[in-house]
Subunit: 158 residues, 2 copies
């Protein structure tokens, strides 16, 4: 892995209108990555990549993230088998966010067992003067997380 | 605006499997928000919300963000007219990311003038041993940013 893969960020025109990959990592060295299903367009997850994960994803064409809870490079699907094959990889105007369109086996992604991590909706158009309630949008899990992950620690941080 | 809208984060089961809105803001008080076009599913942008922006979006049903470059509440479209009407608003498993599906007039969103902020692709499957090149995926701007924004400062931070 080498930083020579990335150009230095020198001008706004270069970053916004140019063809050099010059990503901006945040104070923790991470860049957020939106991952959607290539067929349905459904948003599956928001992950984070460090330099190594970004380069591995580019080189191999399968989604790699940096696990903030486990603090390791995370080849998505290494445990669950739900590898994400990259169909298209995009970067945004100021090059501080990545969008992956992926194919996944079984159309499942979320560690809780749902298809998408975004399985609950926040109703809008109401005053937020008391605790707000969520509505479930997926009624059935597509897999049993205990079967897939066993006793692996849950990645959610309170 | 009051924090009584949000529940305290007490257990993983409550956060992942429950119906209480208990969002996790990062060290800067922000939560990332993926915004997609409700029709095409195209990812338009990745924005950030502080507590106020999240609550305004819920109350009014139009996307509000926190502008990190201008450090103000940002009612998307207030300058450009490209208001984002919320069709569906989701939150993810550990409640640290939001997904908005929106309708926008003119199908345009990006301050550079393109439909989506993600108008360039990163080719995959090649070794990252030299500067990587991007490919443009949108060939024409949908509006002229100078006409829409005039002399307003560019939000991109190098």
């Amino acid at each position: 892995m080498t930083d020579s893969a990335f150009a230095a960020r020198e001008t706004i025109e270069q970053v916004e209108e140019g063809t050099q990959l010059a990503p901006k990592f945040d104070a923790e060295g991470l860049i957020p990555c939106i991952t959607t299903a290539s067929g349905s367009g459904e948003v599956l997850m928001l992950g984070y990549m460090n330099r190594e994960a970004l380069l591995k994803t580019i080189e191999i064409g399968e989604a790699h993230y940096y696990s903030r809870s486990r603090q390791v490079l995370w080849h998505k699907g290494a445990t669950s088998g739900l590898v994400q094959k990259v169909v298209d990889m995009r970067i945004d105007d100021d090059q501080d966010a990545v969008w992956l369109q992926v194919d996944i086996p079984g159309d499942a992604s979320c560690h809780v067992g749902y298809r998408s991590c975004f399985y609950r909706s926040i109703p809008t158009g109401k005053a937020a003067d008391k605790h707000l309630s969520l509505e479930f949008k997926e009624s059935e899990k597509t897999f049993d997380p205990k079967e897939v992950y066993g006793d692996a620690p849950n990645p959610t941080i309170l």
